[in-house]
Each structure stands twice: as C-alpha cells, then as structure tokens.
Amino acid sequence: MSQANDASILLIPTAYKTSKVYSVFPNDGNGDFIFSRSGKATRINANGFVEEMPSNIPRMDYSDGNCSALLLEQSSTNLFTDYLGVSGYSGGGSGSFGVTANFAISPDGTQNATKLTATTGSRQHKQDIAVIGDNTISCYLKTNTGTKQIRLMINDTHRLTVNVTNQWQRFETTTNVTSIIGSGRCGLVSLDILDDNQYILVYGLQLENQSQSTSLIPTTTVAVTRFGETCLSSAATDPSIIQNDEFTLFCHVKDITSTLSRISLNDGTGSNKYQFNFSSAGEVYFSTVIGGASVTNHFQSGLGSEIKVAVRVENNNRKMYVNGQVASIINSTLLNSSLLTDLDLSQTSTSLPFYGKLKRLDYYNTPLTDAQLLALTQ
C-alpha cells in the first residue's frame, strides 16, 4: 500500500474546475484548494501544444512529459508587441530578415508560425524594448530541414548562439541590463544564411523583465501582462485536519521561478507558521515562526530544479529529508498548533505565493519514520 494513502491531505494536481484544485484526500472537499487568476494564461497541454486557459482555470502543465504539474506563476509582461514575430519589427546590422507570416504549423498546433530568411549574416529582426534589470528573451525555433545557427539578442550586446534543429524547441537567455545600449535592441540576429531551401520558423517571441522565462504570453499589437496566480486555503473549512502538534509535511516541486516561493501551514496572518521556502537557485529551507519570529530553520542548497522535501515535526525534534538524503536535524519546540488555520501554496493568503510547478503535496497527521521519509523523497 502506498504511503500516500495515509495522508490527511494529499494533493496530486490533476482534477480541477473553475477556481478550485481538488485534493485526493480528504475526499469530503475540506482539503481542496481555492485557485485564483484574473485573465488568461497558457500551458502545455497533454498533447504537447501551447494552449490558452481562461480566467480562474488552474493550469495542469505537461511541459515535462506525461506527468502533469500544477503551474503557478507570478505576473509577467511580454514586451514584444507581436509574439509571432511579424509586425512591429525592424532590421538592423547588415539589414532585415525576410518574413512570411502563417507559413507553418506552430507549437500551438495552428498555421501561424513565421518563416524567416536572411541573405547574409548579422541581419537583425528586432524591437527596441530592453529595460533596466533582468531581461529574458525566449522563443520557439525550428528549421524546415537540417540544423542552422541563429542568435538571440538582448540590449544589442548580449547575444546567444543557438543550434536550431527541425524540431520545435524553446530557447532562452537572460542578462542583467544596467544601461540601455543601441536603443535596447532585442530579437534575432542571423548567423547562417537562411533561404527558401533552408529557413527558420519562429513562434512565441517573448521578452520579460525577469531572471528566467515564464509561460508564453501571446501579443498582437502591444505589450501584454499575464496576472499572477494564487492557490490557497486548504483545510480552512476544517482546520482540525492540520492542528496536530506532531506531523509530517512533504512537497515535490520543480522549476521554481521566484526567490521567495513558499508553502505554509499558517494562522492566517503569518505570525505563526511552519513554512517551506524554495528559491529558483535550487535552495529550500523549512522554518518555524512563532509570534512573528523565526525560531528554527533547516536549510539545504545546491539542489537541482526538482526538489522532493519532507519534514517530520516532533516536540524537540525536526528532521528534514531532501531528494533522498537527510538534510538536517534540529531540536526545537512546537508552535501552538491550535492557531493553525490554513495550508496555503503561499506564505499566507495575501503574500509571497509559491511560483513554480507543484507535483505533489502531502500532510500526515503523524510523524513518519525515517524509512518513510526516505521513500517519499527518493
């Protein structure tokens, strides 16, 4: 029998409806999460296509393959005014690209990919849109046949050469801009000759004022902002589920996109909470906060993009396992569990949400054994 069958709250994100993500346990609905996002957003669906999702519909994302994850993202803006790379672009360097709209099937499954040709190297297909701070350019590219090289450009000077094959791939590069150079040119720069026999297709051009790319934000004539998302308040209708002095909390997360990505058992204000904090740098810590003061911290760094972490909380004993290894053991007192009211994918219902992919979240109302913690996190 699977360990998961003993969980008081078990979230394996697959089932959802408008404004709700269903937990597997408890099956009376008391462990379900309330989801919120104004406006639309895109995901990779089960068929591997980019798909637009309506307002307040959670995104089960399949960009990692057959297993879905709940994708939660911060607000972000695509500064390119046409994500298909057709309108509003100008040439530069040694000239402009040849552009043919709606030439081939794109990653969204429709005939809207743009064909690009360039009769010489160093031609630019760009918009003047770099901003101060982190800039990340991303786009989907493929050739009609063979392999060709092209460069992604940010702020004129930052250029990344990529090898484009005959399979759609999303490429990205990031740089920190401290001053605008060359009017802030961002886009593509030709390297190999591209003609009607061997050309490149482009889709999903995106420039974000972020340290890494987020999901595709379509644009047609102006820059567009996708709203941030929240997923909150499991156990709020029956807090007794989480009001146990001794318990185990397990998370399986991936591709964290924020330095402050949190999952917490909290009192609604954040003054009293047990909390996981994940960062995009591959770090995790578990903290116990009592009366607004952090009294203990388990910290583990140097992790990859995928993290499985479990913490067993007992009186005078915390033990954290990360990716199949003991990360830390700390002696610490418990907070008053009767204060706990919510399990949030966030610090509290109003601040510092979890941003990344959540593959699983378990809450056990008993301390699991070392062997069980090991099995969960391997």
Partner: protein, 127 residues
C-alpha cells in the same frame, strides 16, 4: 446591473517622474516578513511602463535611425486594481474608486494604449 464581485478594474496613470510613481506604488502597502523580505500587502497588479513611446522611430534597411522615436516625458503605469464595489446602509451601490492620491494621475484613453492585460480589457473594465 453592476456586479459587486467584479475583481479587476483597470486604470492608466502618468506621473511627473519615476520617483513619484514608485512612491505612490509603495503607499499602496508593503510589509516585511520575519526574514526581512519586503512584499506588497495588496493584490493590485502594477505594471511599470516608464516613458512610453508616443511615436515609433523610423529606420532604414540597415537599422539606422531616420527619425527618432518620440518618448513621453511622463512616467506611466497601468494598474489592474483589486477593488470591490460595496453597498451603503440604505443598500445603494457604491462603485469602487481609486485609492487616495491616484485619481489625479489617471488618464482616460479610447484604446487599450501601449499595454494590455491578458484576457482583461481596459476598455471593458475601465476604472
């Protein structure tokens, strides 16, 4: 009839400079957690547009500038407000309005402008 539960109303704003705009954003509310991390205490979505392009520049085939772009001398923001209409004691609807100090910086335009929110129209949800 207006729905009191509508979550997002959108406004466009211009301030004399970036510092003034940032001060207004900060006044919407920030707090600091136990680790010293600052975070907004509101759920408004504020997008900093800066000195927006009023008229695009013109460039030749090699990308050399023929006519420079015309930039606004004002600092621009788009805000999707998390505001709620309410009712007074007599049951009369009170439409949500700008937080204190924002209305005077509001601009009213008849298009989506140079920026929009994905799936939420400014023209349909104008504050």
């Amino acid at each position: 009839m207006n729905n009191p539960n509508i979550m997002r109303k959108i406004g466009k704003y211009e301030f004399k400079d970036e510092a003034t705009a940032l001060a207004k954003i900060r006044a919407l509310g920030v707090d600091t957690d136990e680790d010293g991390n600052e975070y907004p205490t509101h759920k408004h979505c504020v997008v900093k547009l800066g000195n927006i392009v009023l008229q695009r520049g013109e460039y030749d085939e090699e990308g050399e500038e023929i006519t420079p772009p015309v930039l606004s001398d004002k600092y621009h923001l788009d805000v999707a407000w998390d505001l709620h209409d309410s009712y007074d004691e007599e049951g009369n609807l009170i439409l949500a309005d700008h937080p204190h100090g924002w209305k005077s910086a509001s601009v009213d335009i008849d298009s989506e402008g140079v920026h929009s929110f994905y799936g939420v129209s400014y023209l349909d949800n104008k504050l």
